[in-house]
């Protein structure tokens, strides 16, 4: 255990190009997928939080169920679509970063949407009403409410980030763990473990935690900064 901590430190500070590349790839994939997922899940969370419609409860139940989706199932599903023998095979995305990002976006979308929805449902309903009486447009109401709920929304985004930065099923099946291309921290850990290099695997795990910590710190720091 101690050995792997020491090794993690060595890996981080020895300037090993491959470790940096893998870390950067992990970060690139997760940030991209969280960003894309946010584009869809923020509006959905907003609609669920403020609009009452018949299928609302059903959508929420479905979202919460999807949070339990196993990563390998998402991997398999996206694989069958993106394979050359599948309906979207023509895109040629399989074993490329695009495929991993598609899979990870699907993974973190339900978490973000559902957390945004529950954050917004706690906001005083009089806020949007007041804003509307004050003559705010739909869009202004949307942004003002998001601003009001920004801490909760950051938490939602970070939960989504946590889901994808630590997953291995999608990255492995759709990215193929290709060296200098789609190898991420988690697929590298799986590879080192299968080779019996447990210490190196653990060291990479430590790096992943440090990375997640830094991302969390940055985002939360940002919110406080603007207050």
């Amino acid at each position: 255990m101690i050995d792997s901590l020491v090794q993690a430190g060595k890996l981080l500070f020895s300037g090993d190009r491959e470790v940096y590349y893998i870390t950067l790839t992990s970060l690139k994939f997760s940030l991209s997928s969280v960003t894309i997922a946010a584009l869809f899940s923020l509006p959905l969370g907003f609609v669920l939080g403020f609009r009452k419609f018949r299928a609302r409860k059903l959508v929420i139940a479905v979202l919460n169920t999807l949070m339990a989706l196993p990563t390998v199932v998402v991997g398999l599903l996206v694989y069958s679509f993106l394979s050359r023998s599948g309906p979207l095979g023509g895109l040629g995305w399989l074993f490329r970063p695009q495929a991993v990002i598609v899979g990870q976006t699907i993974l973190c979308f339900p978490i973000i949407a559902s957390m945004v929805y529950s954050a917004l449902s706690k906001i005083d309903l009089r806020l949007p009403e007041t804003l509307i009486t004050l003559g705010a447009s739909q869009r202004q109401v949307f942004w003002m409410t998001l601003r009001e709920a920004r801490v909760a929304i950051i938490s939602a985004l970070l939960a989504g980030f946590g889901r994808v930065i630590g997953e291995v099923g999608v990255s492995m099946m759709l990215g193929g763990n290709i060296r200098w291309y789609t190898r991420t921290i988690t697929t590298a850990i799986a590879l080192e473990t299968s080779k019996g290099e447990f210490e190196l695997g653990l060291a990479l795990g430590v790096i992943l935690l440090v990375l997640a910590f830094l991302v969390n710190l940055t985002l939360h720091g940002m919110v406080r900064y603007e207050r």
Binding site: S32, L94, Q98, K195, G196, E226
Partner: protein, 267 residues
């Protein structure tokens, strides 16, 4: 601050979405060639010469052939002769060439509870292990090694089942580690065993049986079936790996002073 992060995220997305599509060659291969470090040695000179980037997808032989069949890779480098021939016969692949060989070995704990050490026949050794109901770990993943193990059981005239027979569905390295922990027997390729030898206590029980010969072949995915494949690149890779230079590199490749693969293409 916000703007900087926004810009960083946009850059992130753009670089990922626009990442180079052309000039890549996708090779599905077995974990043994990748984990041993052989491909890391063979590929860079090929990339330098051709300007192609080789994407190595390391999976079991069964899955590698399935990826080829679906047209998801441009060529395969695998080790299961019967399945390879079936792959070519079904029109999924063309231009199969022998590349190299090594051999399989039966590993077991040093106290050898089943008493199979130095048996001449692997099938007989497996039968003895089954008779004694001593733990045996099977890949169980349709890899080349698993295919070989299944054919050995058929030769031994029995279908293994029971608590002693553990199908774990994992890669070779993980199976060796598990066997070591469980003091169990297992069938392994020599390359992976040698690369892990210093970390485990398992010993070689059976070796040298002609049945344990383990040949590797390279096959291009049939462009008539999958017009999008990089057939030209695949043929250039086949030419490289079977060239005198590529073959010399394979023969000279060593881990901890041991030769892992013997070139076969030029005889």
């Amino acid at each position: 601050m916000k703007k900087a992060i926004g810009i960083a995220l946009t850059l992130c997305l753009v670089t990922v979405l626009l990442s180079a599509e052309s000039g890549r060659l996708r090779l599905a291969t077995t974990t043994s060639t990748e984990n041993s470090g052989l491909l890391a040695e063979l590929i860079p000179p090929f990339e330098d010469r051709t300007g192609l980037k080789v994407d190595v997808i390391a999976v079991g032989t069964g899955k590698a052939l399935a990826l080829g069949e679906n047209g998801d890779v441009d060529l395969v480098l695998v080790h299961a002769r019967a399945s390879e021939d079936a792959f070519v016969a079904a029109g999924h692949g063309v231009n199969r060439r022998d590349v190299m060989h090594n051999d399989f070995i039966v590993l077991g704990p040093s106290r050898d509870p089943a008493g199979v050490r130095d048996m001449g026949s692997a099938a007989e050794a497996l039968k003895t292990i089954a008779d004694h109901r001593v733990s045996f770990v099977s890949r169980g993943d349709d890899s080349g090694t698993h295919k070989k193990e299944k054919s050995l059981w058929i030769q031994a005239g029995l279908s293994p089942n029971g608590k002693w027979y553990k199908e774990v569905g994992q890669a070779m390295g993980a199976v060796i580690t598990m066997s070591d922990d469980m003091q169990a027997y297992t069938l392994a390729d020599r390359g992976t065993y040698l690369s892990m030898k210093s970390k485990i206590a398992l010993q070689v029980m059976v070796e040298g049986d002609p049945e344990l010969f383990n040949p590797y072949g390279v096959i291009a995915v049939n462009p008539a079936k999958h017009p999008h494949v990089n057939y030209d690149g695949a043929m250039r890779f086949i030419a490289w790996i079977t060239s005198p230079e590529g073959q010399n590199m394979i023969g000279a490749f060593q881990t901890e002073g041991q030769v892992l693969f013997y070139p076969d293409a030029l005889k």
